[in-house]
């Protein structure tokens, strides 16, 4: 547990935003990840935002090779990675160049002067020396030769210069852990384990970590600044851990499979940023009944899932926008044959390849409408990293209950973002056991459950239920191929009615914050949840009669949504796209919804939304 190494000099803060920025080879994601774990263990609420370049190893020192990790932590509800950075740790000039613009005036910038060489300054495109030309005057500057101090700290371990240099991030981490009164025991253990095969590297990293911490502790630090304390957040009792959106989806899918009483999940994917993480995560969950398959392409990946679903397993595939486009035809087949399927789309910017590591919400139209013909399916979106668990379970429930593909929209931000998660009471998780058809009496493959309109799930291997299905239109009454015009009309309407009917078995739309009527409804979906929520909270504090409505269900919409929206004078729809939900709402309910669009590959700032609704 946290040792709040309080010294009288420490100042108190409600919440803090730190950004670690450096070269993509400087280990900034690891540094941020470790700071996150120590902060979670210290009892703060938090949200993180990793921001890394698409290049695996961009040329060192360049601005496009800058990798950053932002963490917002505090004693109060932390819902966004933070609009403005309080502390920027810049490991080289390029990081300073790229990330300084997000540091608030008066914020602290920690720089490694050892990395501010002529050469690095030139690579970052600085005309004059930023540490000497007065351009950093609006900020508190902590100029430290982290490179030299690190090399001194690790000199006894006999590392090559390059390896020794790589310990700089641990020195910086040590300093930041001191600054916020964090423990470092868990990180020390983690380093020992990570470098178990290279004890000298483990020792050197621990030494660098300790040296950074000690630097803060000693008098050397006081001339530069002080330490802070951030109170623990008031949170619901329970067992917690940090979880990323990707992990939460993986675990939610396994929980969903168990809740459906299915023995097996076949997860097939094709490598694509930022969705590959889910394939990696599930590849390590074989013991829970997960079969993972790296297919030859996006089409084969979803094809294998359709085959697996036909054979009675939970079929799940995952991709990002361009891969989703390739899967379109197979989604149509799953709709036509009415097989359950979960498709996770970690949205990124586009069109085409776009900016693969940057988040956007621009695949909503694609998810809801992006197929040939009248081909409805269910669409859900996760709001936060922890929400991913519940939404993944819900996707499995809808897919298996209604025999339909379900698209689960995540995004590049949620895929990586981490936050503390209270592990749910496993005995109280929902259960929705699948009943495979076994009785041959009166069977045909498109008999429908009168309540859900879903067809029976009849697995090959079951005697007496041998049947043929396919993408051709079927006769409503026999399941055989049919070209009858009236029958096609009936089947088209039935497929639509089945999806629309899901609205009868999902919760009514609630208001996340504020009244269920009033001047302004701010309607959002997906990972913008936190920013919108905080914006509405702030606007309400300023006296604006605003409410926050967050949609998890995007197809079908909850059945009271139209009526709820009609009770507001103004409807504002902030989205990280050029206006998609806003059009769906206008089309569905004839309401004068207004869009608030941001398409920069970056999350909303709370202030941007506050501005729009004030």
């Amino acid at each position: 547990m946290a040792t709040t190494a309080t010294s009288p000099a420490r100042e108190s803060r409600d919440s803090v935003v730190i950004r670690f920025a450096g070269d993509s080879g400087d280990g900034m994601q690891v540094t941020g990840g470790r700071f996150t774990v120590e902060t979670a263990l210290a009892g703060n609420d938090l949200t993180t935002f990793p921001d890394y370049p698409a290049e695996i190893r961009a040329p060192a020192g360049t601005t496009y090779g800058v990798s950053a990790f932002q963490i917002h932590f505090g004693a109060v509800d932390v819902m966004t990675p933070g609009d403005q950075v309080d502390v920027l740790v810049a490991m080289n000039p390029a990081a300073l160049k790229v990330d300084l613009k997000d540091l608030r005036i008066g914020g602290t910038v920690v720089v490694d002067t050892g990395a501010f060489t002529e050469r690095n300054l030139a690579k970052a495109g600085f005309a004059s020396h930023p540490l000497e030309d007065g351009s950093l005057a609006p900020y508190q500057m902590l100029k430290l030769d982290i490179t030299k101090r690190t090399l001194d700290a690790v000199k006894d371990f006999g590392l090559h210069t390059r390896e020794a240099h790589r310990c700089r991030n641990m020195w910086a981490l040590g300093l930041m852990l001191w600054m916020y009164g964090r423990d470092r025991d868990v990180t020390v253990e983690w380093l020992k384990k990570k470098f178990a095969g290279k004890p000298e590297v483990a020792q050197a990293n621990v030494a660098a970590l300790n040296a950074g911490h000690a630097f803060g502790e000693t008098a050397e630090m006081s001339e530069y600044g002080v330490g802070y304390t951030v109170r623990r957040a008031r949170v619901t009792p329970g067992v917690y851990r940090t979880v990323s959106g990707t992990e939460a989806i993986a675990w939610g899918l396994v929980a969903g499979m168990r809740a459906a009483g299915l023995e097996k999940m076949v997860f097939a994917g094709y490598p694509i940023t930022p969705a590959s993480l889910l394939l990696h995560t599930l590849a390590n969950l074989k013991r829970y009944g997960v079969i993972t398959f790296q297919a030859e392409d996006e089409i084969a990946a979803i094809g294998a899932c359709v085959g697996a679903a036909y054979a009675g397993a939970l079929g799940v595939t995952s991709t990002s926008g361009p891969g989703m486009a390739l899967k379109t035809e197979m989604l149509g087949l799953a709709i036509a044959t009415e097989l359950p399927l979960v498709v996770v789309n970690s949205q990124r910017t586009g069109p085409s390849t776009g900016m693969p590591t940057k988040a956007e919400q621009s695949d909503l139209f694609q998810a809801v409408h992006g197929r040939n013909a009248d081909a409805p399916l269910a669409v859900l979106a996760a709001a936060t990293a922890t929400d991913c668990f519940d939404v993944a379970m819900e996707a499995v429930r809808i897919a298996t209950t209604y025999m339909t593909p379900v698209v689960l929209l995540s995004d590049a931000f949620l895929a990586h973002a981490a936050e503390p998660w209270r592990i749910p009471d496993l005995d109280r998780l929902p259960r929705f056991p699948v009943r495979f058809r076994t009785d041959p009496a009166g069977f045909h493959p498109f008999l429908r459950n009168p309540e859900t309109l879903s067809r029976p799930w009849a697995r090959p291997g079951t005697p007496g239920l041998e049947h043929r299905i396919g993408g051709l239109e079927k006769d409503y009454d026999t399941g055989h191929i049919s070209y009858d015009p009236e029958n096609h009309a009936r089947m088209t309407r039935t497929r639509a009615a089945k999806i629309a009917g899901i609205a009868n078995a999902i919760p009514l739309q609630t208001v996340a914050l504020g009244a269920d009527h009033g001047a302004i409804a701010v309607v959002g979906w997906g990972s913008t949840y936190g920013a919108i929520h905080q914006a509405v909270r702030r606007a309400r504090q300023d006296g604006v009669d605003a409410s926050h409505i967050h949609l998890r269900y995007l197809s079908p919409f909850p059945r009271n949504l139209g009526e709820l929206l009609a009770r507001f004078e103004r409807i504002v729809v902030p989205e990280l796209n050029n206006g998609q939900l806003v059009q769906l709402l206008r089309a569905a309910y004839l309401v004068p919804a207004e869009g608030l669009s941001k398409v920069q590959g970056k999350p909303f700032k709370v202030s941007e939304i506050v501005e729009a609704i004030r």
Partner: protein, 343 residues
């Protein structure tokens, strides 16, 4: 997965036919393949409830509708991917992929490549009629150069792919060939394909009476077949001809075959190559033989089994602790470092 133990009465070929009216053009070679399949399955005693036919799109892809087993008519070219998913979900199922030259080698060429190299335990039957039938007669990837069709009125200019050479190149471990109307061999080839664990690739020369009638007459016409077909059998000499007097041997000093006539003076019968179906290099030479200069090799050209993909996947899963006694969710969610308790 349910694997039934109910024993049916012995099934006859007709018991493998569904109640659906067969709708191929009268005289289509597909009828003969369907008949051979019914016979092959009856002789094998295949269980209908655990047999699945998967197809893509095209004339051949109608096949599953005419079987009384489980069947899945999917989308163009993707049957191998869907069949792979079926085997991953339930390796106990006996899965056939029915495809054509356009479905399997054009739009679905990529999936065919990968399903073969992965060695998924499937029987893949490719109906090669060297034409697109269902879309009304365009040239296909196996059409010979110069094929005149609605899309190539002056004749096609691209070179065809050889189905079996492609399969061998992709790493297939079972490659065989048959002719639609030669029932005895077709039935036996289908049965050999079924017996092989792993991906089995069977090319069937199938006559399209409407758009490419007689495409294979050069070596399938009854009067000349003995001289134009080489029936390969493991351990037997590669001999053909009405009088069984011609054989294949390696041209001395070259990696090249030549035809020798046994009755000619100076020819040593022992020079004739003996078919070794485990020899990939020989298989590659055999499938490259094309009429009229050469006889067409038919039968099991290559069979050299290795562990199948889904079996290896399941072995890994079991080694990781999957199956009965798999851990519960609590282990997944709780048993990690980095949890903390708030009271």
């Amino acid at each position: 997965m349910t694997v039934t133990t109910i024993t049916d009465a012995e099934l006859q070929p007709k018991d493998y036919a569904s109640d659906q009216e067969v709708r191929w053009c009268p005289g289509c070679g597909d009828y003969a393949i369907l008949k051979a399949m019914h016979k092959a399955l009856a002789e094998l005693g295949a269980r209908r409830e655990s047999t699945v036919f998967v197809s893509g799109i095209g004339c051949a892809a109608r096949f599953p509708y005419y079987m009384s087993t489980y069947g899945f008519h999917t989308i163009h070219g993707r049957a191998p991917a869907i069949a792979t998913g079926i085997k991953l979900a339930n390796p106990e199922l006996d899965v056939w992929v029915m495809t054509g030259d356009g479905d399997g080698l054009s739009i679905g060429g990529n999936h065919m490549l990968h399903v073969l190299r992965r060695n998924v335990d499937l029987q893949i039957v490719l109906f090669n009629n060297e034409i697109y039938g269902l879309t009304k007669g365009q040239y296909s990837p196996t059409s010979r150069r110069g094929t005149k069709s609605p899309s190539t009125p002056q004749g096609s200019v691209d070179y065809p792919v050889s189905a079996c050479a492609f399969a061998l190149g992709a790493g297939a471990r079972f490659v065989a060939r048959a002719v639609d109307t030669q029932q005895a061999q077709l039935v036996s080839v289908l049965q050999r394909a079924h017996a092989h664990r792993g991906a089995s690739f069977v090319e069937v020369f199938q006559n399209c009476v409407v758009f490419n009638d007689g495409a294979f007459d050069g070596f399938t016409a009854k009067d000349g077949a003995a001289d134009t077909q080489l029936h390969v059998e493991h351990g037997q000499p590669l001999i053909f001809g009405a009088r069984k007097d011609r054989g294949l041997r390696l041209k001395p000093g070259k990696l090249e075959l030549e035809v020798i006539t046994l009755s000619e003076s100076g020819v040593i019968p022992d020079d004739v190559l003996v078919h070794d179906e485990t020899n990939r290099a020989l298989a590659q030479l055999l499938v490259a033989l094309e009429p009229p200069a050469w006889p067409v090799a038919l039968g099991v050209v290559y069979c050299n089994p290795a562990p199948s993909f889904e079996a290896e996947v399941y072995a890994q899963a079991e080694a990781a602790g999957a199956g009965p006694g798999a851990p519960d969710l609590a282990e997944l969610l709780m048993n990690k470092e980095g949890t903390w308790t708030v009271r």
